[in-house]
């Protein structure tokens, strides 16, 4: 019973008869722990190797095995790589979700499914391709234990035929995925992919319009996730102390870093490490270690997510007042504890800006691509040491854990900046120093490191109760002077954080402000607004907090500015409201998405069009 079930109704949402080339999204619905990741990556890489822009997003549960997982691959000849809301091509491998997955599709979508699921009975407006996976997997995989894994590769073969994928590229992708050491596994899987392909050639009749064809838009590019890019950035920034506590979605950042450090950061003569990576007992300990390592002169970092930041709050407040450098990677996600920890959000913006007790303000960097994850990490480390303060490096689950195309990262040529540190020779020359004295007018004092061989090197570090000479004081004037200097330091930071990236359009009356992973969806949404509504927009992409003057100017230049937030409470928007004058605030509008999935362009477009009265 492997005959094709053809849908009797012509799909309506796409122009009938015409092929849709290099512009579709594939969703593979599986159960987590079933080993589908390899098959999905091979599919994505095949498209990439055919020169078609792609992105790959894993929507996974907070669970190890047995719950539904969706992997979405988007191919876009236009280069759009944000999430596409509509699924064009569903591979339904999970009996639990198959029904809902199929019912959610738009008319005209294609469905590859496990034949016994009989999904073709659910709707008549889709293209159904039933595949007898169990019958196909037996002959290519004699070992019963492996069949669960290998059967995924059969759908690669079937989809390969349906989408006209270049099977030689698929084979190369598969070999790359398994690596040289697993050549046997690669052979086994290639056999399964071929079996799927051959079966499809013989059995199926293609009725859907989706097709891939070779183009040349990915030459020289790499595929990488943001966490790996951050890890590489940290290694080339010269990080020496890494202290962390596992938490989704930041764990892979440090785990990837460990792998790279093992390869590239051991002394060639002695084999010893030029770094230390320590898994702490909790986030309070990890930040305590990172900040004290920074105090003692290391380039230190920790990586965490929102709940970890909450635990770190007290220490980070002390870091602000004691003026301790460290880079804190915050891979943002939804909710506390069991609240959707594997879904994405930009939910820590407001909290991190003002984290801890008393008057505190913290700089935040917002990279929006793997390229920036890499390059801005070096800037963040320099910034932390230059301004002697904790720096938040903010990404999110979408940017951090999903696969993105990127240009190869340029080698950092700028020398490492260790900030204002006095050596024993400096102290001989100066005769002494006052730790918290603003000598240069930038609010940043000079510091010494423990272990500096000089009788005048030592100073005592504590919270806010200190004078310029780091002596304990509870005097009103000392406290106020210190607070004012710290406020001044923050103002100076404003001129040194990464500047926003601005695209001004002459005819645009409205503008977008967004940061981080929102960028992918905003860029696509701007094209949609122009094409569908004739609305031209300007765009300012934030790369840091404190906000720079460019943001104020940008808002002033436009009638209305849409601030895009991936959180319920419009946190970027609110942060601007805290700082700006009423005339600027009056121009701000808010576009919010907080459903836990990566932001898509359609959501933004619909919201802006609606607020614009269209």
């Amino acid at each position: 019973m492997s005959t094709l079930e053809v849908s009797p109704v012509e799909p309506v949402s796409r122009p009938s008869g015409q092929p849709v080339m290099n512009d579709f999204s594939i969703q593979v619905a599986t159960v987590n722990g079933s080993g589908s990741q390899t098959a999905n990556n091979v599919l994505m890489r095949t498209l990439f190797q055919m020169g078609i822009p792609v992105s790959g997003k894993n929507m996974f549960p907070s669970n190890i095995a047995g719950l539904p997982t969706w992997f979405t691959i988007r191919a876009s000849k236009h280069g759009y790589t944000s999430r596409r809301k509509e699924i064009d091509f569903l591979v339904a491998m999970n009996p639990e979700t198959a029904r809902e997955d199929v019912l959610n599709l738009e008319t005209g979508a294609a469905v590859v499914y496990d034949e016994p699921l009989q999904l073709n009975k659910l709707r008549t407006d889709l293209h159904f391709y039933p595949v007898p996976f169990d019958k196909l997997v037996g002959p290519v995989c004699p070992e019963a234990k492996l069949r669960k894994l290998v059967r995924n590769m059969i759908y690669d073969g079937v989809v390969g035929w349906l989408l006209s994928l270049d099977m030689e590229e698929l084979r190369k992708a598969l070999v790359k995925q398994f690596g040289k050491r697993k050549a046997k596994a690669a052979d086994l899987n290639w056999g399964a992919a071929q079996a799927g392909y051959d079966w499809a050639v013989k059995t199926l009749t293609k009725t859907d319009p989706f097709r891939a064809e070779r183009m040349n838009a990915t030459a020289g590019k790499v595929i990488i996730d943001g966490n790996s890019a951050c890890a590489l950035g940290a290694m080339f920034a010269g990080v020496t102390v890494v202290t962390w506590y596992p938490i989704t979605p930041s764990s892979s950042l440090v785990e990837t870093l460990m792998g790279y450090m093992k390869r590239f950061r051991h002394d060639p003569q002695t084999g010893k490490a030029t770094y230390a990576i320590v898994q702490a007992e909790d986030e309070i300990a990890s930040i305590g270690m990172a900040l004290s390592a920074g105090w003692a002169g290391a380039r230190s970092m920790t990586a965490t997510a929102g709940p970890g930041i909450s635990l770190m709050s007290e220490f980070i407040g002390l870091g602000y007042y004691a003026e301790l450098p460290a880079v804190i990677f915050d891979v943002e996600r939804v909710g506390p504890s069991t609240g959707l920890p594997t879904r994405t959000a930009q939910g820590d913006v407001l909290k991190n800006a003002l984290l801890s007790h008393g008057d505190t303000r913290h700089p935040m960097f917002f990279p929006s691509s793997p390229e920036e994850c890499f390059s801005m990490v070096s800037d963040a480390f320099d910034f932390a040491e230059r301004f002697q303060t904790p720096v938040f490096f903010m990404t999110d689950l979408d940017l951090g854990m999903n696969n993105w195309m990127a240009d190869p990262f340029p080698y950092p040529e700028k020398p490492i900046d260790r900030g204002k540190v006095l050596s024993a020779e400096d102290l001989d020359r100066l005769g002494g120093f006052a730790r918290y004295k603003d000598v240069d007018g930038d609010g940043v004092g000079y510091r010494t490191l423990p272990g500096t061989n000089h009788h005048a090197a030592a100073y005592f570090t504590r919270g806010s109760g200190h004078n310029e000479k780091a002596q304990y004081t509870e005097r009103e004037d000392d406290y106020v002077n210190n607070m004012d200097r710290l406020a001044h330091k923050f103002e100076v930071m404003r001129r040194h954080v990464p500047a926003p990236v601005i695209d001004l359009r002459e005819k645009a009356h409205i503008g977008f402000v967004a940061a981080g992973s929102s960028d992918y969806a905003v860029r696509e949404s701007r094209d949609q607004l122009r094409a569908e509504y004739g609305i031209e927009t300007s765009y300012l992409r934030l790369r840091a907090y404190p906000f720079t003057d460019e943001l104020k100017e940008f808002i002033a230049q436009h009638d209305r500015v849409y601030v895009v937030d991936q959180n319920r409470d419009a946190q970027f928007h609110k942060l601007m409201r805290l700082e700006f004058e009423v005339d600027l605030i009056a121009k701000l509008r808010s576009v919010r998405y907080y459903g836990g999935l990566p932001l898509d362009a359609r959501t933004i477009t619909d919201e802006v069009a609606s607020q614009e009265g269209r």
Partner: protein
């Protein structure tokens, strides 16, 4: 003040005792912590430790304020309540050549910081960890801490109904390589133990009963001067011979065990009434249990293990401080980036 014109005494590296002092204490007159600060000054002076090589670390509380009152030429960090272990660990990760001296209290260590303390012990972080233990919260004016004995009372007369944590027993059980208990009023023993701790490589937990004269020195207290004086049970008599002195001098009388410490110094342990082997961890735990049952305060070197690798050694890091490695050693060459990029194509 002395009226003689003799030049001030200097130690083996040419520093005066003044170079080891800190600012004036702000703790109560008679506080045990002040005696401990004095012992620290003496020990570091006597052994000729370079002050710049020391990092003083503390949490929050009366005890944690005290690092300001000794070793003024050493960097100090009065950090977060209960989190000094993390601060000490991070400091040593950055610079393994530092001599880390942590000072904490029973509130800091046995309550809010118990988790961090246990993990510090488990890692055998090479540092001196002094617990100034008075069974009471001083800086918040007299609440019980988790080391207060059952039945001991607050100044108000309210009794403690919960069993105490014995920080030495915890340290023994989970991996500290030098565990001692002393009394702030026992000048010679405390001095000897602190010197041995300076010479040891690994985590030294030194729990010093250090009476709080303001909130816990009354009749119902088991951490008062008079209680400890009456109930102190010394395990042995200790002598310290620093590495720079001739080992042959001053051989003590009686049955003596000699322990050679990491820097070549020697600790001489002279037997008192009981047989006690400070390299036997289980015996140490048993002795603490027995003493607690009798209401005794057992002091001396409870345990030492001179052969266990410390945390920094286990990390296999370079010998130099990570903090000051030059760019050439911490930024891999362009070829490394090219290699990775090629893999991701």
């Amino acid at each position: 003040m002395s009226t003689t014109m003799n030049p001030p005494k200097k130690n083996r590296i040419g520093l005066e005792v003044l170079n080891y002092k800190g600012s004036k204490t702000t703790l109560c007159a008679g506080c045990g912590h002040n005696s401990i600060s004095e012992r620290i000054v003496e020990c570091f002076y006597d052994l000729g430790v370079e002050p710049w090589r020391v990092a003083k670390l503390s949490g929050i509380g009366c005890s944690s304020k005290s690092p300001a009152y000794f070793l003024g030429q050493s960097h100090g960090f009065n950090s977060v309540h209960g989190r000094m272990p993390a601060v000490a660990t991070g400091t040593l990760l950055a610079n393994r050549n530092l001599l880390a001296l942590g000072v904490t209290g029973d509130g800091d260590t046995a309550s809010i910081g118990l988790g961090q303390f246990m993990h510090l012990v488990r890692r055998n972080v090479p540092m001196i960890y002094i617990i100034e233990d008075n069974g009471v919260y001083g800086l918040t004016k007299g609440q019980f801490s988790a080391t207060a004995d059952i039945g001991s009372t607050l100044k108000t007369g309210a009794p403690n109904q919960l069993p105490p944590f014995d920080c030495c027993a915890l340290a023994l059980k989970w991996g500290a390589t030098f565990v001692a208990r002393s009394f702030s009023g026992d000048k010679k023993q405390l001095q000897t133990l602190l010197k041995a701790a300076i010479a040891h490589k690994g985590l030294c937990v030194v729990d010093v009963i250090s009476p709080c004269v303001t909130f816990n020195d009354h009749d119902g207290s088991t951490k008062s001067y008079s209680y400890v004086k009456d109930h102190e049970e010394a395990l042995h008599e200790l002598d310290f011979v620093p590495f720079f002195e001739d080992i042959a001098v001053e051989i003590p009388e009686g049955e003596v065990t000699d322990v050679e410490l990491h820097d070549g110094s020697h600790l001489r342990i002279r037997k008192l009434e009981r047989e006690y082997n400070p390299t036997d961890r289980l015996a140490a735990l048993a002795a603490l249990e027995e003493a607690a049952a009798k209401g005794e305060v057992l002091t001396g070197l409870l345990f030492v293990n001179t052969n266990s690798p410390d945390f920094i050694e286990q990390l296999n890091v370079v010998e130099e401080p990570l903090a000051t490695l030059p760019q050439s050693r911490i930024r891999p060459p362009k070829a490394a980036l090219d290699e990775v990029m090629e893999e991701l194509r």
